[in-house]
Symmetry: C2
Subunit: 221 residues, 2 copies
């Protein structure tokens, strides 16, 4: 038997969290291996051994369940940020807290990245994915506001929002490009943000032919 179950939370709470986690995990796994359109809510529920009706007590759609991992992973970010040393400049804290979250998971293999790419191809998931990030963004904004004094809420939201922008751009690049790693790119983007947008303006030169096809491809996130 495990040494300590750490029953800080009531049994009920633990069961709920566990059920939720199991459902989210099953939803993600099934979707990765079959594609979203071949996963019915019933399948997910069965996988976990729970009634379909119960699934809807936790998530209001299968898309939401699939994207739950995004929300959940970032819950830890609040703690990470609040745990930074008090004297540290705000931006340092935020940057480290964010990078920390994505350091936990090592770089996965090619096959996995490919499956993620397929996953993100599913139109129906985009909305939910973005909503998940918006939730994170909200938490981040609140946490920033909590950590700092004398900054108005608009700016907190702007900071949180643009940080999440960087995360999403880095993420898309990660599963889109063949082989580029997530963390270095994310760190670079955060630094660019910090430096201010005109930093990008270095290459201000207008293209000779503005009709050049620039092929960023389809909307990806």
């Amino acid at each position: 038997m495990p040494p300590e179950e750490l029953p800080k939370l009531t049994l009920r709470e633990r069961k709920k969290r566990e059920a939720r986690r199991a459902l989210a995990q099953a939803a993600l796994r099934l979707t990765l291996e079959r594609g979203l359109e071949n996963v019915r809510v019933e399948d997910i529920a069965n996988e976990v051994g729970v009634s379909p009706r119960t699934f809807n007590n936790y998530f209001s759609s299968k898309e939401q369940a699939v994207c739950a991992v995004v929300v959940d992973r970032h819950e830890g970010m609040r703690e990470a940020l609040l745990a930074r040393p008090p004297g540290e400049p705000l931006w340092e804290s935020v940057k480290h807290a964010v990078l920390e979250q994505y350091s936990r998971e090592g770089e996965p293999d090619r096959a996995y990245v490919a499956r993620i790419r397929e996953l993100m191809g599913q139109l129906a998931l985009r909305g939910e994915f973005l909503r998940a990030h918006a939730t994170v963004e909200q938490v981040l904004a609140e946490t920033i506001a909590k950590r700092v004094a004398g900054v108005d809420h608009l700016l907190c939201r702007l900071m949180a929002s643009s940080v999440e922008s960087a995360v999403r751009v880095a993420f898309v690049n990660w599963f889109t490009s063949e082989g580029e790693q997530l963390l270095p790119v994310l760190e670079r983007l955060l630094d660019e943000l910090a430096a201010g947008i005109p930093g990008l303006t270095g290459g201000t030169a207008v293209k000779s032919d503005p009709n050049t096809t620039t092929a960023l491809g389809e909307p990806l996130c």
Copy 2:
């Protein structure tokens, strides 16, 4: 009869655009006055005088129809951006192009803002709303890439993405706060972005009591 119908587009094209516009408009209007849950796809279709099945040829959900205005409004942004004088620094161009889009519509009255607030309260709309912004973001990134040389695509996406962040934050503030105008706030946020995030770090002081409830409220977008 109108002097010139400007039939640059084939009749078919015009009809399609018109139908789409009508559907989107009806969807938005009905939703504003009844709330999304009291609007069936059938209602929207009837309003326009078209079969429910046809509605789904244009939009794959009523949420998408309601949010179409976001996508459509920004189609003009591409042209606005490409129309900026060639010598102008990139950031100036982007800023003006964006602000221009939101200048067209004057500040609406209180009642309207209130209805928008209710609209955005609808959970089911958030995902679509964000997807719409993601589409705009994509267009913006491509247009930026088209306009400028020597900037890599990652940075174009980052710029587009953080600009949209500012837009969303300003927008949320607009319908959330009682009375603050959209444009001045948006302009200010864009300037903050340009100045770089550490600019916000002025008030780095850690709050004495990090448990203070900061009440940014529920996720709003």
